[in-house]
Subunit: 343 residues, 2 copies
DNA sequence: GTTAGCACTCACGCTGAATGAGTGCTAACA
DNA sequence: TGTTAGCACTCATTCAGCGTGAGTGCTAAC
């Protein structure tokens, strides 16, 4: 279907376009790379490539631009693997030193890291669907009037908030209460702590409405959190550096989309059964119409086969696939071990 | 200096310009408001106002645009106070219901709230300079191999992270260690926990290097956190809606500035001695050259006279001062009581 | 199969004219 | 003395027209 020379030409066009964002002309190829053939010949090949659906022309007298199909072919069977530079490896290896102790923080800073390394927008979806169960709660005394309520879940996540201590209640009483409530809720999935259970909690903490309200609120929040899929967006500013986003309205449109959690969740939804590798979605392959001139490289974290989150890099189809993929691959594996050792 | 009619005209021009972002012409004023005078008369007055430094002309045949001086005059002695709508009050009153229990969360969501309400970029600087002291630390058991290390400060802030339990160490031993370290550090300002103290901590936890390293890391982090002035940026997207930021490069420039924590810290630095009211900085009054076409409304939180943070709304000079100021004023007072009751 | 040559297309940039939104000035008017 | 109608003037903006140059596609010769 495509002869080796066409393949070569296609590759050069794609790589040229990725780095310049300008339609590529036959003469440019001839000049820049010594293929031993004339622009005219290249033109003929380009014409064929266009017929095959790999190239497109913005208008008659412009050079050619790779189609989604071309990028797909490039990613699947042309691109050389790409290695992560030592500097990038070092950046990743050091990045989590100061930030590894809290899931939200990890996700948030992963988004930052990804966008910094790939010069593109990044999305991280923390999918905590029914992950954790209640372990126990405890009051940490602060002063005469306040204590800190800590709720500990079996995945190591902790929620704490300040509560007012009922006048005259002593630490021992608080501990007693904590123990009673803890025994009641122990082992319950956080997102299943509903009104009936909270009713029982009420019977434990009947003494003080205020305290009860505080505890309930914290429990609710933690349950809510554990249910929600939180989206972290990183490096939105990167968009502004891409020539394809010179137009403020286009930026606004895309940013508007990415700020809607629902849209992003849809976008990143992964087929439960898919293999655990990277997934690359290119241009028109995207179902969401607002990003059909964008590509996305996506990786999913699993812990014991259970999906914990998804991270993705989103950029113009003219993306440095080699770089992005290798970085994501490295980071993906790095996080795997991070998660594995952290828990 | 300015007669009542000029005053009126200036006011109308400012308000017109604020709402349209277009240079205001004499005829526009005459048409839109029934002043009983002709455009020619208005022109004469405008000419005077220009001489006085209140108006500027982008070019000869354009209408007039208010100068920084005009806005200053407007804010100081022309603007009617402006009330917060019931909807806005309700939004503020409800906003912190779910988010009040953690300082960072409060700041972050304040930034979001501010930018949402004022349709402008918001900045919140959490200035925790030397605020908190170490109270105690504690290990919350998780499973056989892990525990959660909680460090509690006297301002109610908590830091927790997961640590590996040395093989075979029993909860009681952990508690004993925690007590020992706590007694050692109790009352020390977090940002003064330095190498000498940590050396003493080492002597407490001599048994296990790994555990020691974890504890030190957490202490360091918390110390670092308490020292740092954290900047929260809200609603950067709002910029894109302002006609003065139609140009991507301008947006990039400003966003670049606002992403540099140091710059923002400088920008928000408040003269320690200033009164606790709102501070409005208009256009060329700004020292930072990148934002001399912007205005900033700024409020400072204090708790017991000590500065805890600063919040600001940043927008084009053509800002709805009345709205922004009233919202900030209301929010400011609201947060004051929130802080007062929370601690 | 390759390529030189040439016709053709079309975006882009420049120029100049028309347009219209403004102002400033002047002279007349109340 | 303040107001205003009228008019000249300025200048950004728009648009058509034109030349230019970067491309391609085709053809004929090698």
């Amino acid at each position: 279907m495509m002869n080796p020379r066409q393949r070569k030409i296609l590759q050069l066009i794609i790589e040229d376009y990725i780095s310049t964002a300008e339609p590529v002309a036959s003469r440019t190829i001839a000049r820049r790379h010594d293929l031993g053939i004339s622009p005219a010949t290249i033109r003929n090949e380009m014409s064929d490539l266009e017929l095959l659906g790999y190239l497109e022309q913005p208008h008659t007298s412009a050079g050619r631009v790779p189609s989604s199909r071309a990028y797909r072919y490039y990613v699947d069977s042309m691109m050389e693997p790409g290695t992560v530079t030592a500097a990038d490896r070092a950046l990743i290896n050091g990045w989590y030193k100061e930030r590894r102790r809290n899931l939200d923080e990890i996700f948030q800073s992963t988004a930052k890291l990804l966008s910094r390394m790939t010069q593109n927008v990044s999305l991280v979806l923390a999918d905590k669907q029914g992950s954790a169960s209640f372990l126990y709660l405890r009051f940490l005394p602060l002063d005469r009037e306040h204590a800190i309520l800590c709720i500990v879940a079996d995945d190591g996540s902790v929620d704490n908030c300040m509560v007012d201590i009922p006048l005259g209640m002593r630490p021992a009483e608080l501990d007693y209460l904590a123990g009673k409530v803890s025994r009641l809720l122990e082992g319950k999935p956080l997102n299943q702590i509903g009104d009936e259970l909270l009713q029982e909690v009420h019977e434990c903490i009947i003494e003080d409405e205020m305290l009860f309200a505080n505890v309930v609120q914290a429990l609710r929040r933690m349950g809510g959190r554990s249910r929600e899929q939180k989206v972290f967006l990183g490096g939105a500013k990167q968009l502004l550096n891409k020539p394809e986003f010179r137009d403020v309205d286009r930026v606004k449109e895309l940013l508007g989309l990415l700020e809607e959690e629902k849209v992003v969740r849809d976008l990143l939804q992964i087929d439960e059964g898919s293999d655990s590798g990277l997934k690359v979605t290119i241009g028109t392959e995207n179902k969401l119409s607002g990003i059909q001139d964008c590509s996305m490289v996506q990786a999913t974290y699993r812990v014991n086969g259970r999906i914990v989150g998804t991270m993705a890099v989103l950029g113009p189809t003219r993306m440095e696939y080699g770089k992005v993929i290798s970085v994501m691959d490295y980071l993906h594996r790095y996080l795997k071990t991070l998660f594995a050792t952290a828990r």
